[in-house]
């Protein structure tokens, strides 16, 4: 009876019964997304890094020439150095503040839900908007911070937050920390809430002080989440672009130029697509390093593994 249908219909029916065909079919949308929107641009970017492409000319393959040039370029080296300083300092401060906030929010507090919502606020505001707000705060003439300090009698002339290399570096790091802390705090808070309260009670009976409870219960049990959260935080900070671009454009004297901003400046604003792409490509090894770290950091600890007899 099954053969009585038309041949085409039978064929299609059999195809849709095939597990492998169905699997491939369902995989298709995700594959198109990944290949078309992630792999292709990435491949194109890397390829451009090996060409002398400019805006308007498709460029020739020139091998490692771009990279050889960059190694001798003091601005590029400075931007790489800046990127490390920026990522390292901001991540350390974000981690410390985030953990502290998470521990606070995990306590019994009045208006707990409202407080948590407020903490998330910097994360919700679009980066460009908050960057503009910070730009206003840091402005040489209209800075609210300077105004307040002057009114308090602490300083007698306005601070040029973004005009001095060291101050500018600190200022962008502060802005980045302000924006990044909520993500860390809320993620770590979620982690803290998975720790059973009875563990703290057991530790209290075992004789642990508050500090010892933190060291021997909280920190080890939180470490898997810390590894995930900090990996993401480092990746986000390393590739930060918006804050810097809005606040300083990389200035003054390239003191706040990151690899991302330099890449954009050279590649898009300056038109040297090949060189810009080479700068971006140079970031990949560092990002891979961070991902590798997370890969090892995220490996399940022995104590997290299930009960197989070994």
């Amino acid at each position: 009876m099954a053969e009585s249908g038309s041949a085409a219909q039978g064929h299609r029916g059999r195809l849709l019964d095939n597990r492998e065909f169905l699997g491939a079919l369902f995989l298709l949308p995700a594959a198109i997304l990944l290949l078309g929107l992630l792999a292709y641009p990435l491949g194109l970017g890397v390829w451009l890094g090996f060409t002398d492409a400019k805006v308007g000319s498709s460029g020739q393959w020139i091998g490692l020439e771009n990279f050889e040039f960059l190694v001798g370029d003091s601005v590029f080296l400075l931007s790489a150095w800046n990127t490390f300083i920026y990522t390292f300092t901001a991540s350390v401060i974000k981690f410390a503040l985030g953990l502290w906030l998470a521990l606070l929010l995990n306590e019994r507090l009045p208006f707990k839900a409202a407080l948590r919502a407020v903490v998330l606020l910097p994360f919700i505001v679009p980066t460009v908007l908050s960057a503009i707000a910070f730009w206003w705060l840091y402005d040489a003439q209209f800075s609210v911070l300077s105004w307040t300090l002057v009114r308090l009698g602490l300083i007698d002339h306005y601070i040029d937050f973004l005009g001095n290399p060291l101050l500018a570096r600190c200022s962008v790091i502060v802005a980045n920390v302000w924006r990044g802390v909520p993500f860390i705090a809320i993620s770590l808070l979620a982690g803290l809430q998975t720790i059973a309260p009875s563990l703290y009670e057991a530790a209290a009976i075992d004789g642990a002080t508050a500090l010892q409870k933190f060291r021997h219960v909280t920190l080890p049990l939180l470490s898997p989440i810390i590894a995930v959260v900090m990996t993401f935080s480092v990746l986000f900070t390393f590739t930060d672009f918006q804050l810097i671009w809005v606040l300083t454009h990389g200035g003054p004297l390239n003191a706040t130029h990151l690899m991302t901003t330099l890449s954009y400046q050279r590649g898009i604003s300056g038109g040297a697509l090949g060189e810009g792409a080479a700068i971006s490509t140079a970031m990949i090894p560092f990002l891979l390093l961070a991902v590798l770290f997370s890969y090892f950091g995220l490996q399940r600890r022995r104590w997290q593994q299930g009960g197989a007899d070994r």
Binding site: S91, A196, A202, A204, Q212, G297, G307
Partner: protein
């Protein structure tokens, strides 16, 4: 990425220091007690008076009162079981003894010391939690050694005590495992081990067996009991399971709605319940309660069940017509066909050793246990007579036991 390293390093540093047996970070390491020998030796020298006494203990959360003036005394070396339905306040009471919960008023004494304001770590107690509360990131050995390390005990001492406790509990080969790699029963033992290595003055158990399957529960019941026989440490054990209470306790404290209903030896409570609650809670299947009425006749006093059966009473001071509750245990019925209460059979469950008969008497469900293998059909009628001298009378309104002497008791 370098960012979480300091945290990890800090944790490692602390662990290393702990392993060396040093107090980490110079923080307080005193457990507030003098060093005592482990569970294996010097028992006589070690054990001091460690009674637990609660005097008019109350607990309030804001306006809500959950414990209303509880008095409990647990003697030195006694195994006391707090039992009651969920929400009766027994766990709260235990946590108050442990110091995990503040008390609103009253006094708690451990030994001769009032410990109201003493933090848990200085009360010289150990607690076994319902979910065991084992540290998942520490091996069995480290779990048991944790309190000793915090107390700054020498390394050999820790090693010796943990191994001794592991031997007692049959955990010797699991010392390097993590809690996740253990079965429920083994985890339970680790929790016990963690308690006994410290040789505390008092053990507190918070429903430690409720997460185990039925067979293991019975086994662990015996083990905990044996351990207590061996160590003779004062213990307070919380459970909602009256069978656990009956089989394990030297003394049972029955709680309900934040009050102590009755306290005494298991069989004392079974034989002489003070009120309807205790009578119904202790014993399985539960005691049957039948509505009755007091009647004074020229011959004396009797309790009338339904319209028919009168049970003669003596020494009862209540007025004629008082509403009563008659309590009869399932095993204290005689099944007959002539006289007695008419009962409609609802179902029969033979268990092999005996037969449980579920029936309805004057609209009240009644359970009867008989050693004989009856074969009643559901819907059939039988006659039940309470065994003379085995009935309990309660005031129907307050539920208090009415002291009576059944003249037939002899």
């Amino acid at each position: 990425m370098a960012v979480s390293l300091p945290g990890a390093l800090l944790a490692r540093w602390c662990l290393v220091r702990l392993r060396r047996g040093e107090p980490a970070g110079g923080a307080s390491n005193s457990s507030g007690s003098t060093p005592r020998a482990g569970p294996e030796g010097g028992r006589g020298a070690r054990r001091s008076m460690a009674s637990v006494e609660l005097r008019q203990v109350r607990k309030q959360y804001g306006q809500t009162s959950v414990i209303h003036g509880v008095d409990v005394g647990v003697r030195d070396g006694e195994f006391a079981v707090l039992v009651g339905p969920s929400g009766c306040g027994k766990s709260t009471l235990l946590r108050m003894i442990a110091g995990l919960e503040e008390i609103s008023s009253g006094e708690i004494l451990i030994g001769d010391r009032v410990v109201n304001r003493v933090p848990p770590k200085d009360r010289d107690i150990a607690m076994v939690f319902q979910n065991y509360a084992l540290y998942p990131h520490m091996s069995v050995f480290d779990n048991m050694a944790f309190s000793l390390r915090l107390a700054g005990r020498p390394r050999e001492d820790i090693q010796r005590r943990v191994e001794e406790a592991a031997r007692v509990l049959g955990l010797g080969e699991y010392l390097q495992r993590y809690p996740r790699q253990l079965s429920g029963g083994q985890r339970q033992r680790v929790a016990m081990g963690r308690a006994i290595v410290r040789a505390p003055q008092v053990f507190l158990f918070d429903e430690p067996l409720s997460n185990l399957d039925a067979r293991l529960r019975v086994q662990m019941r015996t083990e905990i009991r044996e351990l207590h026989q061996r160590l003779r440490t004062t213990s307070v054990y919380v459970t909602h399971d009256q069978i656990e209470a009956m089989t394990m306790a030297d003394r049972i404290v029955v709680m309900n709605l934040g009050r102590v209903e009755q306290s005494g030896a298991p069989l004392e409570l079974y034989d002489e319940p003070a009120n309807v609650f205790v009578a119904g809670f202790i014993g399985s299947p539960a005691m049957n309660f039948l509505p009755a009425r007091l009647r004074r006749t020229p011959d004396g006093v009797e309790a009338v069940l339904g319209d028919a059966l009168g049970l003669p009473l003596e020494g009862c001071e209540l007025p004629d017509g008082s509403a009563l509750t008659l309590g009869v245990r399932p095993e204290h019925f005689v099944i007959g066909s002539g006289a007695g209460l008419p009962a409609q059979v609802l179902g029969v469950e033979p268990t092999g050793a005996d037969t449980q008969i579920f029936c309805r008497v004057c609209g009240t469900p009644v359970t009867v246990i008989s050693r004989e293998r009856h074969r009643f059909e559901p819907g059939g009628m039988i006659r039940l007579t309470p065994l003379p001298g085995k009935t309990y009378l309660f005031d129907a309104a307050g539920g208090q036991r009415i002291p009576t002497r059944d003249p037939r008791r002899g």
